[in-house]
């Protein structure tokens, strides 16, 4: 492929400036690849454009089908879900909070919080605490005297 052939699409799309277009046109005269591609496309597009489309008015039938398939209450539900940012954000917030609160992991977090309090108390009583996992799930706080 010649270097000029790479400009075929830009030429076809009318995106070359005047000078480049003229250069490409001289290239076209001597390049069988680009010349035949251009002719083939011109003729093919002409044929496709000449095709007669005879649309049938389907509007009433389609609307009837749409409402049969999805009755009025469905449209009503759809309307409820139309963008209402404030309501959507509030609902999402409530759902997220409920979800996180119900997560088992969260109870663990709150359990840790309790242990943290105990640890702080232990430290103030000159004791160090260690958290141990027992039976894979139970947490045990072991208190030992702080070393001097």
């Amino acid at each position: 492929m010649k270097r000029e052939c790479a400009l075929f699409d830009l030429y076809r799309d009318g995106e070359l400036d005047d000078a480049a277009r003229e250069r490409f046109q001289s290239h076209l005269a001597g390049c069988p690849d680009c010349g035949s591609r251009l002719r083939m496309l011109d003729n093919l597009v002409f044929i496709l454009k000449a095709e007669k489309i005879q649309p049938v008015d389907l509007a009433s039938r389609i609307a009837r089908r749409a409402f049969e398939r999805a009755p009025a209450w469905d449209a009503l539900i759809a309307s409820c879900f139309r963008p209402k940012p404030a309501v959507a954000a509030a609902a999402a917030g409530v759902l997220l909070f409920a979800f996180l609160w119900l997560l088992p992991g969260n109870r663990t977090v709150s359990a840790y919080t309790e242990y943290e309090k105990l640890l702080n108390e232990a430290e103030s009583s000159n004791l160090a605490g260690r958290l141990l996992v027992q039976n894979d799930s139970e947490l045990l706080l072991q208190l030992v005297p702080l070393e001097e």
Binding site: M40, I47, E51, P55, A66
Partner: protein, 202 residues
């Protein structure tokens, strides 16, 4: 004054069947055009147009009315056509071989001519026959390339519009159109070689 698209959508969502019918009436020609050009002429086109609007109806609640309705429904139509082409591809690629020999030769001759069917003007006789053979050349193109080619070359859309209809970037739209042109050329040459071989055999 005619209600705006946005008003019709609002009324449709409120349960007004007539409003949706009016919306379909406004855009059905465009959808017919897309379906016909991308899928080809078929008795199934009515079903395709109906399905496009039923899909639009089902998604209407999610449509952002700050944007125009036309390009949105065009995108649904294009995606639907690409899906259909993917499903029917194995059957469609057979079309070329199903053509009668003289039809194949005629198409190839006309497409190669300096002044092929173009010289006959818009009133070209037997345009249906031409279209049938021309479509055979399009069949077998990757559906995405084919849809991009039709939108750009036949519907005269700019690349921004092609990208919007395909739900892709402008760069990707350009790439697909370019690939389609190159692929058509490759297929065209292969067919020409095939016909040349047949003539030599005679």
């Amino acid at each position: 004054m005619d209600p705006s698209d946005s008003e019709l959508i609002e009324r449709t969502l409120g349960g007004d069947e007539g409003a949706f019918a009016e919306l379909v009436r406004r855009y059905q020609s465009a959808v017919w055009g897309t379906v016909h050009r991308v899928l080809g002429s078929s008795s199934e086109n009515e079903d395709a147009v109906q399905e496009v609007f039923l899909r639009a109806f089902a998604a209407l609640g999610k449509f952002d009315r700050r944007y125009p309705f036309g390009p949105w429904v065009a995108r649904i139509a294009t995606n639907y056509c690409i899906d259909q082409l993917r499903r029917k591809r194995s059957r469609k690629v057979q079309l070329w071989s199903e053509l009668r020999e003289h039809e194949q030769e005629r198409l190839l001759r006309d497409l190669s001519m300096e002044r092929g069917p173009v010289s006959a003007g818009p009133g070209v006789e037997d345009s249906e026959g031409y279209a049938r053979v021309a479509r055979a050349l399009l069949d077998g193109l990757n559906p995405k390339y084919r849809a991009a080619f039709i939108l750009r070359e036949v519907d005269d859309k700019d690349y921004g519009e092609v990208a919007a209809a395909l739900g892709t970037s402008e760069v990707a739209a350009r790439f697909r159109v370019s690939r389609a042109r190159a692929e058509l050329q490759r297929k065209f040459r292969a067919y020409l070689r095939g016909c040349g071989a047949k003539e030599r055999e005679r």
